[in-house]
């Protein structure tokens, strides 16, 4: 049996798969960010808070209404997406004519407010949420919980569907055209502001979906978003701001690299992504898949 730098291949396969699972979360979250940035030119710092609200949404539906996980998976993204639409209409839409920085500051402030409110109400230790598909299967090299498999599956499907919608459909072509030249697209009779509102709602819905997926495995916790959001931003920067395929591929890819770091040098596992980000920024400032503007 061959060994790679002292690590048996079984452990290595296991870690690769785990990296892919974590990458699924990075991909879903960075996809939402990329969609919002690509269409609205807004750096949505509230994304982590909206992910957290997704997890809390699932918990609340179960606790107060009795709707189980599978219902929450459909309902929560719609509800949180709707709150995103309200935010966009009330606040964000007023900032489009200003510099990116204003949108960033606004969403950052909103994130702090949301987190603070949830912390005030529910404390910081987290809330329990039962795993809807317990158990798993032994793959020989590792034990794969059914639930983690499900997370990877749904994440790949959602990512590819989003990519297809934006890059290959008529609706997507409108969206891309509206980003390039909103005035011209409006002249063709297309309601560009409404399209942007719905895009923001969709991006937020993706964050909420990731939140619902995370509820059974991470704890439902007001600070769960802020722990993750910085990493996800690094993923977006590495992939190229606004690039849909870039965020999907780097999301999964960096999950795997992080997973491998956890085997070879665990102490560096929370910094490795930032080291890669620094290198990518030096060599390709627009990101791996981005086009310089």
């Amino acid at each position: 049996m061959f060994e790679l730098i002292g690590v048996p291949p079984q452990a290595l396969f296991g870690q690769l798969l785990l990296g892919l699972i974590n990458g699924a979360f990075y991909a879903l979250l960075s996809l939402g960010l990329a969609v919002i940035f690509g269409m609205l030119n807004v750096i949505n710092f509230a994304h982590g808070a909206q992910y957290m609200m997704g997890a809390f949404g699932a918990w609340m539906l179960l606790q107060y209404v009795g709707i189980p996980y599978w219902g929450a998976l459909l309902v929560v993204p719609v509800i949180i997406g709707a709150t995103g639409i309200i935010l966009e209409r009330l606040l964000l839409a007023r900032l489009y004519h200003l510099d990116h920085l204003y949108g960033l500051l606004l969403t950052f402030g909103l994130a702090l407010i949301f987190e603070g409110l949830f912390r005030k109400q529910y404390g910081s230790s987290g809330l329990p949420y039962a795993n809807p598909i317990p158990g798993g299967t032994n793959l020989g090299f590792m034990f794969l919980p059914w639930y983690r498999g499900w997370v990877v599956l749904i994440s790949i499907v959602v990512c590819l569907a989003t990519w297809f919608m934006i890059e290959k459909t008529k609706l997507g072509s409108y969206l891309r055209a509206a980003t390039e030249n909103p005035t011209l697209v409006r002249a063709f009779g297309i309601n560009v502001p409404r399209m942007m509102t719905l895009t923001y709602g969709f991006g937020v819905g993706l964050a909420a979906l990731a939140g619902v997926l995370a509820a059974p495995i991470y704890s439902v916790n007001p600070i769960m978003g802020s722990n993750l959001i910085i990493v996800v931003f690094a993923v977006v920067v590495i992939g190229g701001m606004g690039s849909i395929m870039g965020s999907i591929v780097t999301g999964f890819g960096l999950g795997v690299i992080e997973g491998l770091t956890k085997v070879f040098y665990p102490e560096a596992s929370n910094t490795v992504i930032f080291i890669i980000m620094a290198i990518v920024l030096m060599l390709r400032p627009a990101g791996l898949f981005g086009t310089p503007r």
Binding site: P8, Q10, A11, G14, Q15, L18, G19, I21, N22, R119, G123, S124, S125, G126, L127, P128, A130, N131, P134, G135, G136, M142, F143, P145, Y147, R148, I217, Y218, S219, N221, I223, M224, N227, L228, G259, K262, V263, P266, E267, S269, N270
Partner: protein, 404 residues
Amino acid sequence: MRLKTLALAAAAAVAATPAMAQYSNDTIKIGVMNDQSGLYADLSGQGSVWAARRAVADFCKTTKCHDKIEIVFADHQNKPDIGSTTVRQWFDVDNVDVVVDVPTSSVALAVNNITKEKNKVFLVSGAAASDLTGKACTPNTVHWTYDTWALANGTGNAVVKTGGDTWFFLTADYAFGHALERDTAAVVEKSGGKVVGRVRHPFPGQDFSSFLLQAQSSKAKIIGLANAGSDTTKSIKQAAEFGIVQGGQKLAGLLVFITDVHALSLKVAQGLILTEAWYWDQTDANRAFSAEFEKANKGNKPTMVQAGVYSAVYHYLKAVHELKSDADGAAVVAKMKSMPTEDALFGKGQIRADGRKIHDMYLYEVKSPAESKGPWDYYKLRATIPAAEAFRPLDQGDCPLVKK
């Protein structure tokens, strides 16, 4: 006439000075510093501030106390740099006399040095590293509630006795995790067990599955969790998900607070063995304290850390009023050490020369959902560890204050 008034005023001032000058700034100012917003906020946070206020109120009920006792609080965000800056500001500008609580050992060790440098008082309740009364001990610090040695001695011993003789550690990568791992490994090896491996995870962590998988492939009988707060709850939750317990390995949560058990739910946490210094459902006095705590703190029960803050502040006030001064930190701590401790929550105890507060520790097992009679009814007592055996023997800590 005018002259007479002036003379009278001067006389009054002279008469008043000796009594007033003994309390620095004429105020006993207590600073509660802990995590107000992160993963340790529920086990310390505002609950500790409430406990400190309560200690002042209870003390003043029975004793004629100084009329200016003030409590301030701050969030150190679990970062040593923020903690150090805050404490320097408190000592240099705000005239704070004593710092209380300070979970997160890396922050506590930083505050420990500054307190000595400024000759103030530091009462540790939240932090765990046993170094605070070992190599890093100072004449200005009292370590009140628990420490890593006591946890290792309680939980570690109990687990080894039931056959858990090979261990793999999952350790939070900072001062506390390292201390807890070191102290537990010593207990395991002393009782004939073996440590087969360890992995250090970033603090705070998010996904533990990778580390758990490494623990699983080590084939150790026991996976020791040398972490705390939501790091521990996430580890336990994800271990259940990856079938680690079904696979025959057992988890040993080396530091589990009641708020963690609450976050996990009994279904997941049942059967865990843990060591605590204090549990709300232990005595009538504890239950009465907890009932009021609950009303003020969103229905949560107090943790041992918060109860420890109450007890520590209570004893500090006793010593300061005895001395009628809070100006010389080392003198206050010396006074605290010379008096036996006694309060409603921790009963009778004492503080050793190295700054270690001594009391009984308790080994609990988490109840199953069927055994629990209601919310927060979580523990059943397995053993009481008498005060004399609960903490590291005085001569083994390498504390320079202890004469050999």
